[in-house]
Structure formats: structure tokens, C-alpha cells
Symmetry: C2
Subunit: 202 residues, 2 copies
DNA sequence: CAGATCAGACCGAACGTTCTGTCGCTAAGA
DNA sequence: TCTTAGCGACAGAACGTTCGGTCTGATCTG
């Protein structure tokens, strides 16, 4: 990607473009927003835009990577305060619930991108698949610490609840959606903890 | 909506347009497909298109109403074979699971439309909100027959699992997604049935 | 005959991308 | 200290294509 060397300090113009794109793509959709709009609101010129992003698709990929980093940050934070096997999962769930209730919440950037880019050959689609693989893998690892034998189905169940909550959070009452999600997660963790306790008692 | 009187037989041209739009919009996304494409593949002319649909938005609304009718048909079928309070819900869940595993599955047309039309004032957005209200209401009514007191949260939980399954069904292994969904629903129904049995035994 | 459909041209706007010349800033070299 | 070169950003025009929508006249069918 142009001008994005790992150790180079990103230019102010590039940051402005990426920040603007992240905000507008998330709020309004990707296809619904043209590069003209991003350029105008970032207050840079066309030449500057194309200097940093060779095409609109490059900007979209940068947007998704930006959101991915934000979500990684959230997960890393939950892992840092790690006391018992269940707590990181609850911390992640609470973070998701808070996000759902935050102003400007507009669902999952990756699920939204999937709706707009269904072609599995498109780089945008491939980017979101990679993100989802990371998230499922992370939850699976955490679930394995709760109960090794059922980690896979339990993680899939967690992610399904997450996906459902993210999808519905801006289509109905976010408070009810968050409650439903947290209850589902708590029930899931309770069942899996009891399995672990039952097997430990043997 | 033009030429769509309740008792009039829809013309062949209109049917072709709607059928084509339903297929392509669902498979490829709404913004990603222009009217030219629909017209070319439906093998009608531009004037015919605009005779039946005054604008692209009218076609999109017709597409969503078409999918809504299909889903109503699925639910009506599940209700028709109604033996016990739990069975319609299981039938609906099984129908959803089969859909997820069917060729060409591309998620929920309404969730996909929500991603592309986030503006709550847009008629497309309002159409999908109405559809979701119908679905949640239907599931709530069915859950009330399982256990009156927890019908609301249980229905929301069911719909959350459904949304998550629909979102993930074409982004990962559809068989695993279906299994996860059906297990989640079975667990939910078991818990709610046991609540009903417990309260009946008092 | 009336309505539906056809063929096809047209419109202005928007789309993503390319390009040119100019300006400002910074760092390095004389 | 001054000059120069290089880099990044600016202003703005231009390109070809696609977009959704409008319109006209001809043909077909019931």
C-alpha cells in the first residue's frame, strides 16, 4: 500500500483521509459514498488522495484494517485484566454491549462490508473473512480455558450471539439487544463452566 | 405502486423484472447493480421498466416485499403443522437452517439492505424495520405458547440467534452455522419448556 | 382501438481515475 | 547563510464510463 511503510509516520493528509473514510463509510455505507465526498470532507485534494490510496478499494481496505485494529485493542484490553478463565469473555461481551449502546453505533463494519461485497474474490471480502477468522480463533482459545472439550461449539455460539447483536443493535432498542446478548453469553458461560466443574469433580 | 392493483394479474414483464431483481439484488447487493443490468437480464426495455417501477427505489421495495412474502409463506407452513407449542418454533428454525445450507444462500436480504440503507428516513430502511417487527412479533407469540412469562426475552434471544446465523451462514461453513443455530434454539426451548413445566407443577 | 411493449436515443449528474503546473517546507550542501 | 533539490500538498481541469431517469415513434396483441 502506497506510503504506508511499517515504521514511517503517516502523513497528516493520509490520517485525515482515513479518519474521514472510517467515519463516513461506517455511518452511510461504502458504495453510497464516493471519493469526492471523502476528499471534500477530509479537506485534501484529489491528487493527495490518489497519492496515498491508488484506488478507492485501497481506502476501503485501509478502513477495514483500521476497524480491525480497534477491535484487537478492545480484545487485548480484555485479556490484560485476566483473572479467571471466564472473565476475559465477559469483558469482551461487556465491551460489545457498550459499543452497541454508544451513539453512532451502526452495526459491525465487517458484516456491513460483507453485504456490500459478496464476491469472495474481492479483496474487501477476503479482508473481512480474515478478520472473522481472527475473532473466532480468539474466542475459541478463551473458551478452551473454560472447558477444553466444548470450546469449538461454545465459541461458535458466542460469535453467533455477537453477530446477531451487532446486526440488530441499530435496528431495534440497543438496551434490549445488549441485555439479550449479555444474558445469552452468561447462560453459555454458565453451562460451559458447569461442564468443567462436573468433569473436575470426577 | 404503479400497476400493482391488489386484484390485477401482474404482467409478464413485471414478473420478469421482479424475479430478475430479486435474484441479482440478493446475490450481488443493491447499490452494486444498476437498472441497466436488471433490464438487460430481464430482457425488457427501459420504457417497460419505468412503466412498472417509477424509480429504482420502487423496484427495491418490491424486491423486499417479495422476500417478505416468501418468509411469511415459510412461517405459515410451520404454523399449519401445529401439534405442540414448541413444534412451530422448531419447524421455523429447521427451515432457516435448511435455507442457510441451500445453494446461493447470501444471508438475510433485510440485514443486507440495512447495511446498504442505514438512513432511517429512507423507505427501504422503513420496509426492513417493518419486516423485522413482524418476525419478532410472530416469534414472541409462539414463545408465549411455550412459556407466557418469558416470551419477550426468549423471542429476542431466538431472533438474535437467527440474525447471527443468517449473517454468518455465507461467511463460514454453513453446516456448522446451522448446527450451532439449531443447538442454540433447542437449548432455548428446553429452558423455556422446563420453566413452563416447573410452573405447571406448582 | 387501447394498452402494453418494443427499440433506441437522449439527458445531466455522478463515478473513479489521471494529469499538469504551482507552491511551500525541509534538509543538505556549498 | 544561501541555494537547491526533493517531497508532499495544492487547485483544478479533464477523461471515459456508468448512473437513474425521460422521451419518441413503431409494433403487437387482445
Amino acid at each position: 500500500m502506497a506510503s504506508d511503510e511499517p515504521n514511517a509516520r503517516p502523513s497528516e493528509a493520509r490520517l485525515k483521509l482515513l479518519r474521514t473514510a472510517t467515519r463516513i463509510f461506517y455511518a452511510e455505507g461504502i458504495h453510497a459514498v464516493g471519493v469526492d465526498r471523502i476528499i471534500a470532507e477530509a479537506k485534501v485534494t484529489r491528487a493527495t488522495f490518489y497519492r496515498h490510496f491508488p484506488s478507492k478499494d485501497d481506502l476501503i481496505l485501509a478502513y477495514l484494517r483500521e476497524v480491525h485494529q480497534l477491535e484487537r485493542g478492545m480484545v487485548d484490553e480484555a485479556l490484560a485484566a485476566n483473572l479467571s478463565p471466564v472473565e476475559p469473555l465477559l469483558a469482551i461481551a461487556n465491551s460489545i454491549a457498550q459499543n452497541i449502546q454508544s451513539p453512532g453505533f451502526r452495526g459491525c463494519a465487517f458484516l456491513n462490508a460483507a453485504a456490500e461485497y459478496p464476491d469472495t474474490n474481492h479483496p474487501v471480502h477476503q479482508e473481512l473473512i480474515a478478520h472473522r477468522a481472527w475473532f473466532l480463533g480468539t474466542i475459541t482459545t478463551l473458551m478452551a480455558q473454560v472447558h477444553e472439550g466444548t470450546a469449538d461449539p461454545a465459541a461458535r455460539h458466542f460469535v453467533m450471539l455477537r453477530d446477531g447483536a451487532m446486526a440488530a443493535g441499530c435496528l431495534s432498542d440497543p438496551t434490549l439487544v445488549s441485555e439479550t446478548f449479555l444474558r445469552g453469553v452468561e447462560g453459555l458461560l454458565r453451562i460451559n463452566s458447569e461442564r468443567q466443574s462436573t468433569e473436575s469433580a470426577r
